[in-house]
């Protein structure tokens, strides 16, 4: 076997220099960087669809019954379909592909110092399944009856009986799309974990791995460990819809509450699945731009383990009013409050990293700092909701909606912009425009707060979620409340308009931007030691690692950074 392995090594170097045809380079690539691009652009396109839905239903809420520009009159079924698919898309087709798949694919091999993922063809397959899942979801909008409208949580019997959901095939295709997406991320996840476990550069010990890689890997493990029961549940739901079984139908002996458990056993870990990659990306960005060592590398890592472990025992806090056993509700209140401890500690570590640093307010840094601020609000309001007594009132109100948008928006959108602006030079070999970047930052961050802060108050005033026209509810149709809705919608429109600046900056810089040096931010991690953009195979000679990723401003050294692969005797 060892001879064979030796033969393999000599053979594969010959392969690196073959010129690939267009088809194999861009359409069916096996190179991890190109697959990362595919995930990123697919995710961005899906984000446009999800954003468009948000625009339409927010307009309907602000001006009920009036024709929405670029859409028309919004019917109740269409409203439900758009709310449902907005949530589904943003979580499964934007947050996951961009944060985990795109940046995981791009960063893991580069940061671990190897030439590609361990299984490049599996990687390609997982993207292809992902693409199919996205197409199935889009297809589901156009079948007879329209797209699924039973909320992203798909509670049965509403979701499982066509007579109730009124979307016979829309609901089934939705389940199918989500299940395919899970399969794609399972395959991709196996690849990520194996690569990070097995293919690290010589010398890179566990505690030398950049936090960004660690967190993506932990997130993937959380995903793999929580999604299995939901895949089983999706199969059961699909059978209920199509074959007429009664797994979740009380009339046939089934139990709808079982679905809620299956869903949230996945659903809560899932919020940490998307949170952790952004947390990791932010850790890397704030250390680079405050020129300081990460405060408490080990602590940060252990808090992530603690969060991951605890995230499996809090799921029923989404079901406090669903008729679960009240004794269990007590248990879940305690665990829910407990989980905010490690998360808070992680945030404190980040803030301590900033303390006393020489902070440079570049665009990625602004995004990273605003993430810390906004996520803090999201996390703190989560603790309110975690107390079951309060949740009886808050549940399914706009307070919940504002809570999770103060977590998901920072994670998905702010995290995505932070990562893109930070790694853009490495991905495309050119710098983005800083001025436009900052305008876009403020034009996104201020409206974001204007959209969601007021929603907390709407929630406190008793405004329920998932209602398409508040005119039908005299208590909620008052003028003050309507003014708040209009304000939130107007802020959303302003925010969407500012995204044009980003798109312009993105595509202009991609082709015409200033050429980027190898290491524009003077960072330590291995991806900055290769040319921008990295060639096929990444490293000319595969690097050896001598130290951790966060050796900034080390006393007694002339240079304020210390690349991971620089031998100790050089300087």
């Amino acid at each position: 076997m060892s001879e064979a392995a030796a033969a393999i090594h000599t053979e594969d170097h010959a392969e690196h220099h073959e010129e690939l045809s267009f088809l194999y380079k861009y359409i069916l690539p096996v190179d991890h960087k190109m697959i990362a691009m595919q995930y990123m652009f697919t995710g961005l396109i899906m984000a446009v669809i999800g954003g468009y839905f948000a625009y339409v239903f927010r307009m309907q809420l602000a001006y009920p019954g009036e024709s929405v520009p670029f859409f028309g009159i919004v019917g109740p079924g269409e409203y439900n379909m758009m709310v449902t698919n907005h949530g589904t898309i943003m979580i499964f087709w934007v947050a996951m592909p961009v944060l985990i798949a795109a940046f995981g694919n791009f960063l893991i091999p580069l940061m671990c110092g190897c030439d590609d993922m361990v299984f490049p063809r599996l990687n390609r397959l997982s993207y292809q399944i992902f693409l199919v899942s996205a197409l199935v979801l889009i297809l589901s909008f156009f079948v007879k009856g329209g797209g699924f409208g039973g909320a992203w949580t798909a509670y049965p019997p509403l979701s499982s009986v066509p007579e109730f959901s009124l979307t016979d095939w829309g609901a089934s295709l939705w389940v199918l799309a989500v299940a395919l997406e899970f399969v794609s991320f399972l395959l991709g996840g196996i690849n990520f974990v194996t690569t990070a476990m097995n293919a690290r550069a010589p010398g890179m010990k566990m505690l030398d791995i950049p936090i960004a890689v660690w967190f993506i890997v932990i997130a993937v493990i959380l995903f793999m460990a929580s999604v299995g029961p939901l895949i089983a549940g999706a199969v059961m739901l699909f059978m209920d819809q199509r074959i007429g079984t009664t797994f979740f139908l009380p009339s046939g002996g089934g139990d709808p509450l079982l679905w809620e458990h299956l869903f949230w056993f996945f659903g809560h870990p899932e919020v940490y699945v998307v949170l952790l990659p952004t947390m990791g990306i932010v850790a890397d960005i704030i250390t680079v731009f405050s020129r300081k060592k990460l405060f408490g590398y080990r602590t940060v890592l252990y808090t992530a383990f603690a969060t991951g472990g605890l995230s499996f025992v809090v799921w029923a806090h989404h079901q406090f009013v669903a008729g679960i056993d009240p004794r269990m509700a007590n248990v879940f209140v305690v665990t829910t409050v407990l989980i905010s401890i490690p998360i808070a500690e992680m945030l404190f570590s980040y803030i301590a990293t900033l303390y006393g640093g020489s902070i440079e307010y570049t665009t990625p840094m602004l995004w990273a700092l605003s993430f810390l601020f906004a996520f803090l609000i999201g996390g703190v309001t989560g603790i309110y909701l975690g107390a079951s007594a309060l949740d009886v009132y808050f549940h399914d109100s706009y307070f919940v909606l504002a809570h999770f948008h103060y977590t998901f928006f920072p994670i998905t959108i702010i995290g995505m912009f932070a990562a893109i602006t930070f790694w853009f030079p490495k991905m495309f070999g050119r710098m983005m425009n800083e001025t436009l970047g900052k305008i876009h930052f403020w034009g996104t961050f201020i409206p974001f707060n204007c959209i969601f802060l007021p929603l907390f108050f709407l929630g406190l005033a008793g405004q329920h979620r998932r209602i398409y026209n508040y005119d039908h509810f005299p208590d909620l149709a008052t003028e003050e409340l309507q003014d708040i809705r209009v304000f939130a919608t107007a802020s959303l429109v302003i925010m969407l308009i500012f995204q044009v600046i980003f798109l312009y900056n993105f595509f202009y810089s991609m082709f015409k931007g200033e050429k980027a040096p190898d290491n524009p931010w003077k960072a330590n991690t291995l991806e900055w030691t290769v040319p921008s953009p990295p060639p096929h195979g990444n490293f000319k000679t595969l690097p050896t690692v001598y130290r951790g990723a966060y050796e900034y401003s080390v006393p007694g050294r002339e240079m304020d950074y210390w690349p991971q692969n620089m031998p100790p005797d050089e300087s």
Binding site: A5, C114, G189, I190, N198, R200, V227, I231, M239, G252
Partner: protein, 193 residues
């Protein structure tokens, strides 16, 4: 993955070859899928949901025979792995196809069971027990079929003398499929009280 591929594939910081490590992760995630279904089944069963007494209608003989078939196929696939380690490709090829044949026998018994049950009126929608029965054994049968396809593909490579490590990998998967059956057997066939 061909025998070539990136350097990354041949690194092993954990001491476990990449292929095997990946299969372990795959199996871990499969544990959750089958485990989730088994957990739901057990919940309903312990709850005394009507219909679960139908477990007495399944044929213990057929189930036991199929368990025997899968156990034996596990033996042949591990013997294939042992043969390949000795470098005996022809033997390995034969053992792989024994395993494949066992898969066919298993599926034939399943078809016999399914058709008998459906003809006597126990369809998938009859009650929750049969829903679980067809869903879980059906998903398991799909895993058997998938394993057989991969095995057939691998066998020819092995006879030509490359990709030896894959025999071990498909073997691990096949044993897992066997393990799942080891638990489905008592759940659906024996425990009828």
């Amino acid at each position: 993955m061909s025998t070539r591929g990136p350097v990354a594939t041949h690194r092993s910081s954990t001491g476990i070859p990449a292929g095997r490590l990946a299969v372990w992760w795959l199996l871990a995630s499969e544990i959750f899928i089958f485990g989730g279904l088994i957990a739901c089944f057990v919940l309903f069963k312990l709850n005394g949901t009507p219909g679960f007494e139908d477990a007495s209608e399944t044929s213990v003989v057929a189930g036991a025979f199929n368990t025997f078939v899968l156990l034996t196929s596990s033996l042949t696939v591990v013997l294939a792995h042992a043969a390949v380690e000795r470098g005996d490709r022809e033997k390995a090829f034969t053992y792989i196809w024994y395993t494949f044949a066992a898969g066919i026998v298993f599926l034939m018994v399943k078809v016999y069971e399914y058709s008998g049950k459906i003809l006597s009126g126990h369809t998938i929608t009859e009650n929750l027990f049969w829903s679980f029965y067809y869903t879980m054994t059906g998903l398991h049968a799909l895993h058997v079929i998938g394993g057989m396809v991969v095995m057939a593909l691998i066998s020819f490579d092995v006879r030509k003398g490359y990709n030896y490590q894959r025999v071990e990998l498909i073997g691990l998967y096949w044993h897992f499929v066997d393990l799942v059956w080891i638990f489905l057997f008592p759940l659906f066939y024996i425990a009828n009280f």
